[in-house]
């Protein structure tokens, strides 16, 4: 149990150190209480759904012959908003860069950014899923929050 605790703590700290998550995530965790026990998981799942949809839209938009930069910008704006709400810092940064390329109407840059954002998103998704698994294990073993 203690080992689990330590492992969880280390893992969480590493996420912050690597800047995959920022303090916004901490805020989210603070909002989780008895009345809202699965708040974080719900928000994160919604984030995953939203992001996957947005990434598809972005890929589709960039594949067109006449790229509609306005629409592109709107989608990236949404993604930026979502990622900043849950504290996915790297994804958010990627979105900011993406927006700049959109403003410059640089298709090449946009494609590059899209790839980057996708990578970051996949990374954060994996990390979060691992985190949740660890947390579940911890809870099952009888532990309780907050510990960070």
């Amino acid at each position: 149990m203690e080992q689990l605790q330590r492992k969880l703590a280390e893992y969480t700290t590493s996420l912050y150190n690597e800047k995959i998550l920022d303090e916004q995530f901490i805020q989210l965790q603070q909002l989780q209480d008895e009345s809202n026990p699965d708040f974080v998981v719900e928000v994160v799942s919604l984030f995953f759904e939203d992001s996957e949809r947005l990434l598809n839209e972005l890929a589709k938009a960039l594949n067109q012959a006449n790229v509609d930069f306005k629409k592109l910008d709107a989608h990236v704006h949404q993604m930026k908003g979502s990622s900043s709400s849950i504290g996915a810092q790297r994804v958010q940064r990627g979105c900011i860069a993406f927006r700049n390329y959109c403003d410059d109407r640089n298709v090449e840059g946009c494609l590059k950014c899209l790839q980057q954002v996708k990578n970051e998103y996949t990374l954060v998704k994996n990390k979060l899923e691992t985190l949740f698994k660890l947390e579940k294990q911890f809870v099952d073993a009888g532990g309780s929050f907050p510990i960070v």
Binding site: Q27, L31, E42, L46, D50, G87
Partner: protein, 755 residues
């Protein structure tokens, strides 16, 4: 019988007196009789026909003023004729009746003739004068004819001048003007040669610039001081000059008599000659010379009207030339302006780019710097809530305080633009003044003791315990000044003293415009920090408070720091309606930093802030928002959920909407607060705020509107304020932040801070 004879004699004598030709030596009485008979007959005939003719012709003519005379004359002639006619009967024996008729006729004739003779005395002079008048009128008519001829010529000339003027003035090209002038003049006046001499740049010579006959005149020049030229330039009239003068000798002297030559001056006007009220002042001394030559051998002379024409043309040419000159100048000015415009535009674009780059940099660094700070603050505050040993607790508290300060400092440093604009506002609150000083002391003591400096604090007894002001920034100022004192002192002591400033100590001799007016609710705090450090060169004192400057001496001691410290302090002190300055006797003699700040005294005007309630730190908040109905509008699902979770955690009853229409549909008076994400792309959220205002008006139950945004720039804030929003909050929002925002909203109805 005797009377008969007498009558005969009378008749004959009358006949004689009628100018009948009588030859006294006629052959026989019968023959005589016969001739007389015939003559009388013819005379009568003539006599009768004359009036007929007269009447006939007079009737034909329209005007004959002497009708009465005509009648008389007619009567006279008719009677004469009658007499002669009746005479025909008297050659033979005739009855008494005939004699009576004859006599009557004669008497009548005599009467009428006499009357006519008398009347003629009056009439004949009249008739004669008619003739004279006729002659006079004829003369007059001839004169008028002549004058008409002259007028016509003049009018023709006028027309020519107008045409010429039109030609000259229809172009703004100098050469065309001059060439056209010469050509037209030559045509109009049938000149042999027409030339224009222009002054050279030096003004000492006249150069032959244009002629009529030669296409490219050789560059003949004559000095300008010739008497003939002076004569022409001296008057604005056309002057006749000798064909032998140098300006008129344009072709090799021919065998023939050269025609008459005239010359006229053409003023060359500049823009400066055109006064606003007058005609152009001929104060210019620059003239050109126009020379006109009549054809040789033509015996033509210059007529007055031709000379007048030349004068008029010369004037017009002057005006046209000046217009052309003005146009040239204005075109040159315009080209220059265009160049300058292009350069300015480029500079402006570069400046804009630079500003944008700086703003982007600031925006990014903003985020970059704030993030770790918030992490530190958040984690430290969480750490505080765990189990710690007292020492650890103290350490954590110090970390928290320092990082709070640092966060504020970063906020201020990075919001340079806000400071410069003056849009920075103080966070006014009630706080404990002595405690503030003690805290500063405790913060500085460790460093001072390392350097073995002795730090003292003396607070005057009349300082109030609780004051109203910006605690954080006052602490910042104090720390900065005290920190400087410690930094730049290698040994000795630093003494801090604070007291209430009295009116005489409110004046700084170096800033006479600083007037401090203490009042009932406010007092002026005066703080003096004296150190025994390296001192400051008096020359450097004025530059101390400028950004980024560090004097040479300071730089060598590896002072570190951004160099902004004092500049920021000065701004804060100014915002506190105070004054800050530094005194030093010189290098090595230590220095004293003094500042005055205006602070409020609680308990008088601000009843809502009771002294014992101190600063409402989030950790001690007891107010809950149980059941507070709020509405959240955000088009981003994740964001919406997070904000909802935040508010639910605080106890609110949250409704969420994803679009503007939904928001307007759902909102009721029961919702106390509306949180609006204003970075929703493409939707005018400000409009929603306006509609809410309209719908619920100024009634007490209007929902408060707060904007959530990722931008802290002024434009967004201004827009929010413009549509009447009650607050602006920067995303992402922490729990504490949301708590304090809600409490401020419910207490004051408005959120003062925005970060």
């Amino acid at each position: 019988m005797g009377s008969m004879l007498r009558m005969n004699r009378l008749l004959s004598s009358i006949v004689e007196s009628c100018n009948c030709i009588i030859d006294p030596q006629l052959p026989a009485d019968d023959l005589l009789m016969k001739y007389q008979y015939i003559s009388d007959f013819f005379i009568a005939l003539a006599y009768f026909s004359i009036p007929v003719e007269l009447i006939y012709f007079v009737k034909k003519s329209a005007v004959f003023p002497y009708r009465w005379v005509l009648v008389q004359f007619g009567a006279f002639i008719v009677l004469c004729g009658a007499t002669h006619l009746i005479n025909l009967w008297t050659f033979n024996m005739h009855t008494r009746n005939v004699a009576i008729v004859m006599t009557t006729a004669k008497v009548l004739t005599a009467l009428v003739s006499c009357i006519t003779a008398l009347l003629l005395v009056h009439i004949i002079p009249d008739l004669l004068s008619v003739k004279t008048r006729e002659l006079f009128l004829k003369k007059k008519a001839a004169q008028l004819d002549r004058e008409m001829g002259i007028i016509r010529t003049q009018e023709e000339t006028g027309r020519h001048v107008r045409m010429l003027t039109h030609e000259i003035r229809s172009t703004l090209d100098r050469h065309t003007i001059l060439k056209t002038t010469l050509v037209e003049l030559g045509k109009m006046l049938a000149l042999e040669e027409c030339a224009l001499w222009m002054p050279t740049r030096t003004g000492l010579e006249l150069q032959l610039s244009y002629t009529l006959r030669h296409q490219n005149p050789v560059g003949l020049t004559v000095p300008i001081q010739l008497p003939v030229i002076n004569q022409v330039f001296g008057t604005n009239r056309v002057v006749q000059i000798s064909p032998n003068s140098p300006v008129a000798r344009l072709r090799p002297a021919g065998k023939y008599m050269p025609g008459e030559v005239v010359a006229v001056r053409v003023p060359l006007l500049h823009l400066s000659n055109f006064q606003i009220n007058d005609w152009p002042e001929l104060s210019t001394k620059r003239y050109a010379l126009m020379v006109l030559m009549l054809p040789s051998d033509s015996a033509r002379q210059w007529h007055v009207h031709e000379l007048e024409l030349v004068e008029v043309v010369a004037d017009q040419v002057a005006v046209a030339l000046s217009h052309a000159a003005i146009l040239e100048e204005s075109m040159r000015a315009r080209d220059l302006l265009m160049e300058q415009n292009v350069a300015l535009d480029l500079a402006r674009r570069e400046a804009e780019m630079a500003v944008r780059a700086r703003n982007d940099f600031l925006a990014v660094m903003n985020h970059e710097m704030r993030t770790p700070m918030h992490a530190i603050i958040a984690l430290s505050s969480l750490l505080q809530e765990t189990d710690l040993t007292p020492e650890q607790r103290l350490m954590v508290e110090t970390i928290l305080k320092s990082s709070n300060l640092l966060a504020t400092l970063i906020n201020d440093v990075l919001d340079l633009s806000r400071l410069e604009d003056g849009s920075l506002q103080l966070d006014i609150d009630t706080f404990n003044l002595p405690a503030l000083f003690r805290e500063v002391l405790s913060l500085i003591k460790p460093i001072a003791s390392v350097k073995k400096l002795f730090v003292t604090l003396s607070l005057s007894s009349d300082l109030p315990e609780y004051v109203i002001g910006d605690e954080k920034r006052l602490m910042q100022i104090l720390l900065n000044i005290v920190g400087n004192a410690v930094k730049f002192s290698k040994e000795g002591s630093v003494s801090i003293s604070a007291f209430v400033a009295k009116s005489d100590s409110l004046r700084d001799p170096r800033a006479p415009e600083f007037f401090a007016v203490p009042s009932e609710n406010h007092f002026y705090l005066r703080v003096q920090v004296k150190d025994t450090g390296i001192g400051i060169n008096p020359q450097d004192i004025p530059n101390l408070f400028s950004k980024f400057t560090q004097s040479q001496a300071l730089a060598t001691t590896n002072a570190g720091g951004t160099g902004l410290g004092l500049a920021i302090c000065k701004r804060f002190v100014n915002l506190m309606e105070g004054h800050i300055w530094v005194e030093s006797e010189g290098l090595g003699k230590g220095s004293t930093a003094i500042f005055i700040a205006k602070l409020g005294i609680p308990g008088c005007a601000n009843e809502s802030k009771l002294p014992f309630m101190a600063k409402l730190t989030a950790n001690h908040m007891q107010v809950t928002f149980q059941g507070l109905k709020v509405l959240v509008m955000d088009d981003n699902g994740v964001s919406r959920m997070v904000t909802k979770g935040l508010l639910t955690h605080l106890g609110c009853d949250v409704t969420t909407v994803g679009s503007r229409d939904e928001c307007l549909r759902v909102i009721t008076q029961e919702h106390k607060v509306v949180f609006m994400d204003v970075s929703m792309a493409g939707i005018d959220c400000y409009e929603v705020a306006v509609v809410i205002h309209e719908r619920f008006g100024k009634r007490h139950g209007r929902p408060l509107i707060v904007a959530l945004t990722g931008n802290t720039d002024r434009v967004t804030k201004e827009n929010c304020m413009r549509v009447g929003m009650d607050g602006v909050i920067l995303k992402p929002v922490s729990v504490d932040k949301m708590r304090s925002v809600l409490s401020e909203l419910l207490e004051h109805g408005v959120v003062l801070e925005s970060s």
